[in-house]
Symmetry: C2
Subunit: 163 residues, 2 copies
DNA sequence: TCGGTCTGGTTGAACTCTCAACCGAACATA
DNA sequence: TATGTTCGGTTGAGAGTTCAACCAGACCGA
C-alpha cells in the first residue's frame, strides 16, 4: 500500500495543466454548442456519427461504439433526439432484439446549421493555438493514451477471467 | 458563413483521436474514483484543494477558481460534501457575504484513503504510457490551449464591453 | 426441444451539472 | 443618508449521466 509512486512536482504540474486545459476547452465547446445549437456536444456527436453512416442509419450498439457512449446513455440521448424529431428508431430486420437509429432530414438540417460554429470553435482553440509539430505530437500522445487504456482494460478482463 | 475553415482529413484524425483519448481517460478515472472512494473526480479535486490550503480552509470563490468550477456547481457539491461530513462551512469573518469551506478530519481521512488509487490510475494511464519528450510536449500543448482560451475569453469580454 | 446463458437494448431512480433567478452584504455615488 | 450597482453565494428546476435491474430475442449444450 505504501509503495505508491506519487507524482513528482514536475509531474504534478503537467497533470494539473493538462486537466485545466482539457476542462476549460471542453467546457467552452459544450457551452458554444448549447448556446448556438441547443444541444450538448455528446448529442452533436451522435448526429455526426449518423450523418456519416450509410443510409444515415446505425444500430444502437454501433452508434454507442462510435460515440464512446454507454448503451444506457445512448438510449436516453436518442430518446430525446427522437422527441425533437431529429432521429427516428426502427426495428432491426436481421435481429429482432436490435433497433436502428436514423438521422431525419430535420436532424440533418440542424446538424448542418450547427457544424460551422462548432468547427470554428475547435479550430480557434485547438488548431490555431498549436504548431504543426505540437499537433503531430498530440496525435502520438492521444494514440499512446488510447493504447494504454485498451491494454489496461484487456488486462482487467484477463484478471477477472482468472478468478 | 460559407468561409468556414473546415478540418482537413488529417486534422479530423487528430481531433477524433484526442477526443477519444480524453473521453476514455477521464471516464476511467471517474469510474475508478467512484468505485473506490464513492465520489466523482470533481468532488475529489475539491477535497484536494482544501487539503492544500492553510487551515485546510478556503473561501468558496477561491475554491471555485482552484477547481475550475462554477459558483453554482461548487455550492451544490460542497452542500453534498457537508452532508457527508467531509467538509464544513463557516461564515467569513472579514466579509459577511462570504463563506469558508473547511476540510474536516473525516474528510481528510477519506481523501488519504482515496489518493493512492487515484494517483496510481493517473500514473498508469498517463505518465507510464508517454515518453519524457511527449510529457514535455503535453505540458507545452496544455499551456498553449489554456492561453488560447484565456485570450479568447478576454476578447469576448472586450467585445461585450464595446457594445 | 428444453433449459441456461449471453446479448442488445430500455427503463427508472439517484446523482451531478447548468442556467437563471434570487438574496443579502459591500461599495460607489450623490 | 438614500440609491443604484456589483459581488459572493445559494437555490430550484430542468437536463444529462450513471448504475443496476430488467426484458425479450439469440445462442448453445444436453
Amino acid at each position: 500500500m505504501s509503495d505508491v509512486r506519487w507524482l513528482s512536482a514536475e509531474e504534478q504540474r503537467v497533470w494539473r495543466d493538462f486537466r485545466t486545459a482539457v476542462t476549460k476547452f471542453t467546457e467552452n465547446l459544450d457551452r458554444q454548442l448549447q448556446r448556438d445549437a441547443g444541444m450538448p456536444m455528446a448529442y452533436y456527436e451522435i448526429l455526426v456519427a449518423l450523418s456519416e453512416a450509410p443510409e444515415r442509419s446505425l444500430r444502437m450498439s454501433e452508434l454507442a461504439l462510435n460515440c464512446h457512449s454507454s448503451r444506457s446513455r445512448l438510449s436516453h440521448a436518442v430518446a430525446k433526439l427522437e422527441k425533437e424529431g431529429w432521429v427516428e428508431r426502427q426495428a432491426c430486420a436481421s435481429d429482432r432484439r436490435g433497433s436502428v437509429a436514423r438521422l431525419t432530414d430535420p436532424g440533418f438540417a440542424v446538424l448542418a446549421a450547427a457544424a460551422p460554429g462548432h468547427v470554428t470553435a475547435v479550430r480557434e482553440h485547438l488548431f490555431d493555438v498549436l504548431t504543426p509539430a505540437q499537433l503531430a505530437s498530440l496525435q502520438d500522445i492521444s494514440r499512446a493514451m488510447e493504447n494504454g487504456l485498451r491494454t489496461e482494460c484487456a488486462q482487467a478482463r484477463a484478471e477477472i477471467g482468472e478468478f
